[in-house]
Symmetry: C2
Amino acid sequence: MPDAPSETYVIGVDFGTLSGRAVVVRVSDGTELGSAVHEYPHAVLTDALPDGTPLGHDWALQVPGDYVEVLQRAVPAAVRAAGIDPAQVVGIGTDFTACTMVPTLADGTPLSEVEGLASRPHAYVKLWKHHAAQPQADRINQLAAKRGEAWLPRYGGLISSEWEFAKGLQLLEEDPELYGRMDRWVEAADWIIWQLTGSYVRNACTAGYKGIRQDGHYPSPEFLAELNPAFAGFVADKLDQPIGQLGAAAGTLSAAAAGWTGLPEGIAVAVGNVDAHVTNAAAQALEPGQMVAIMGTSTCHVMNGAEIAEVPGMCGVVDGGIVEGLYGYEAGQSGVGDIFAHYLRYLGPEFTHEHLTELARRQRPGAHGLIALDWHSGNRSVLVDHELSGLLVGDTLATRPEDVYRALIEATAFGTRTIVETFNAAGVPVREFVAAGGLVKNTLLMQIYADVLRMPLSVIGSEQGPALGSAIHAAAAAGAYPDVRAAAAAMGRKQTAVYQPDPDAAAVYDELFAEYTKLHDYFGRGANKVMRNLRAIQRRVVA
Amino acid sequence: MPDAPSETYVIGVDFGTLSGRAVVVRVSDGTELGSAVHEYPHAVLTDALPDGTPLGHDWALQVPGDYVEVLQRAVPAAVRAAGIDPAQVVGIGTDFTACTMVPTLADGTPLSEVEGLASRPHAYVKLWKHHAAQPQADRINQLAAKRGEAWLPRYGGLISSEWEFAKGLQLLEEDPELYGRMDRWVEAADWIIWQLTGSYVRNACTAGYKGIRQDGHYPSPEFLAELNPAFAGFVADKLDQPIGQLGAAAGTLSAAAAGWTGLPEGIAVAVGNVDAHVTNAAAQALEPGQMVAIMGTSTCHVMNGAEIAEVPGMCGVVDGGIVEGLYGYEAGQSGVGDIFAHYLRYLGPEFTHEHLTELARRQRPGAHGLIALDWHSGNRSVLVDHELSGLLVGDTLATRPEDVYRALIEATAFGTRTIVETFNAAGVPVREFVAAGGLVKNTLLMQIYADVLRMPLSVIGSEQGPALGSAIHAAAAAGAYPDVRAAAAAMGRKQTAVYQPDPDAAAVYDELFAEYTKLHDYFGRGANKVMRNLRAIQRRVVA
């Protein structure tokens, strides 16, 4: 049955690592009516630029034109799939990977599109997982600790090589001429809004989490000059820009963008946002203590708090970082789903995720005799150490693939419990755990998390959490609701307490978690530096 | 070209876990002229007796008639394959798995062949890997430590559940009526000689290593009574028997055995021996400090010393345990080749041993960033703890099967280095390392061992080391040579220093061995009991 002519719609667009997804959502109740995906033609550049120019180790770049193609292809396709009249669309919202940075001219033109710069690696988008700025991040952390910079504890004591300052400093030091030609150093989350509206508004979320903006200030010119004299003006010259609050309108859809998308010129365009943080609105988890875990390749934990607190090893706390008026906390696990996929990669073809899950489901907790550390991609929270690596203990000749598979699932659950307990101990209690992301489909994994956490698990009611969250922000920006909280209440979806902890399983997991914690602290807090030493030896002998 | 009519020959028969192999060897120079294998029809009984009677956890039994079939089938087949005249055979020697025990009547009849006893599990041969006597072994060790029994340090401080006393005590306590009907508790190594000659001689090797015979004495009746009053007479009633030295004749071939084998009645039959210990003769490694490592599923290290010393964590030291006049030392690694096979078992079919070896060969030491502990079957030497388990550290999303495969090979090499260094530190220096067994074919593994040990590796010159060693003992027993050393000098084969350590690789392995040792001591010496705890939880939840 077609909607009444009076219904209005919003578009949410989720820009992921390899593709962008557009979803058409009904404003009145959040129903998702149609969606479309467009894969980035250039995907991720890790070995070479499109012209063959080679890239260094740990580089990860993207081509900004690929993002525009998502607007040109996926948005009209989603509208067609939804079967609605585009004239009834009242707003568009987006979310993006972060920290993903675009170097541009003053008008927003990416440097990679400037004539003569297409062969310069630093002219391209530095994707979130570009990790080649680690030396710069190390220097930033050392200097900030030495100077006692007040912002450092807001990031759990360490900022990441993925963030705006480390990547910007790398650009300066490796291609200073290009740095001189760069007018703006723009989060892709904001660059896409610039493309839609024609004006550049910096969103409060990435400015806070990735841009070290705290209490209205960035790191000082003195601090930056001590890093590198040529970096002193970085904030004033390249970064600073008026801040837009999440859920506000950054502007309206330009004629050019209306042409790309087939949407009406002049509709509201929400301030840019981040894929993880926008999900809380979709999961109706905006109140203090409602932790949303977006569980996929990696896991991001996002939660509001009423007060500001310093949580050891968190990624960051930002005023208005999730929703205006509350402090948004973020933590993360570097590897989750990708650890399971890695384990399957070389097994015989009969060992699919589905098959191993069914075999693992028949086991009682503790029956496999294994414990793993989930650090195959390092540890983001609470250790903040990317030199760490995976560990498996307990392997015997009787160990089967489903045993290891279950142990890896449990390891990621133990990692989550470590984060939850750290928040609780820091005075930011986790009151509800809401699962989102691709892994919610694995009911065994969900039950294990409930048992390990000794908490009921709620589950987001949408398979496209970020895109739905972006649509909710679009509805708020369009004025269809007074604010994001009201829009989320009407349009978001959550199933409460779907998984209940089993007391017997939880008791065994308490024992195993004690063993996990002992290993976690031994290998993660410096008593045995074998993981770090192995990486150092590896780098030396491979070089 | 056929041999001259004056040539004489000996037969070596190697009784393994699943089959027996006979080899025909020329006395003058040790040339192997023909061989044949016969698989035991009943293989290993782990789940049930032949009549379906179920067996408990960790049981492993065999059927003694299977051993006789080897004499009936493999010996004549080997003679045919060699193309010799059986009349020119002057002796036969055998080696056996150990400790493998046959309960018999006074005439050597196995209890399993006595009418009415075929359904009694304890009436069968307890194979070396029957591990159900662990509770008895624990009690023996605790009591021996409490009483300060002088023989305990001769076994590195712990005796094994695999040995004669633990298995015998289990039989007494679980089937006392059968224990009463048992006249003799016989090593299979000696039982097969009894079958060949008609007389029972106990060999010095198993009596010492497996039978706790030290300086001519067994554990005292007082000690045994304290274990169990009904066990007080175990030595006198069931075990004690005249000792035969290795390489001596136990007797001559009986008419019945001549009928089975097709060999001349009256030829020399050597005293029984053990597969590992007989290999030193084949490898020309009988001098003090020449360590032979028989590397296959597991590894056994066998070496003579001029003096007696207490080596922590060794399996045992026995006067004349390898050759008369020297002290024979034994150590072992519970898992080696079976760890590699376990790792391959669930991988895709493209990952064969050969393919992974070739891929791993291209790597530099340290390039994979991994370290493993080789304890998938526990640790025999030097920790003597079967509750330990495997560990892998350093796994990342970039880790490939050849990386893990190489790390597992290296882990077993580090385990060997730990044993070698323990012998060196105890005043029993290892002067030459001679590799034998199926793994010598893997040239990558051999080179890694040379690099890790920082020692040249010699290699046995026969693919049938135990059978050749048995044949050498047969030649000595037949009087063709004055003693085993002279026979080994003429008939054994060794390639000296085939693999030389690479200094660059050895330097990296020194670093990795330091990391291995730190993990070895942390998990193996009680600082972190996670492996033991995981097994305890596993047993509890599975029960």
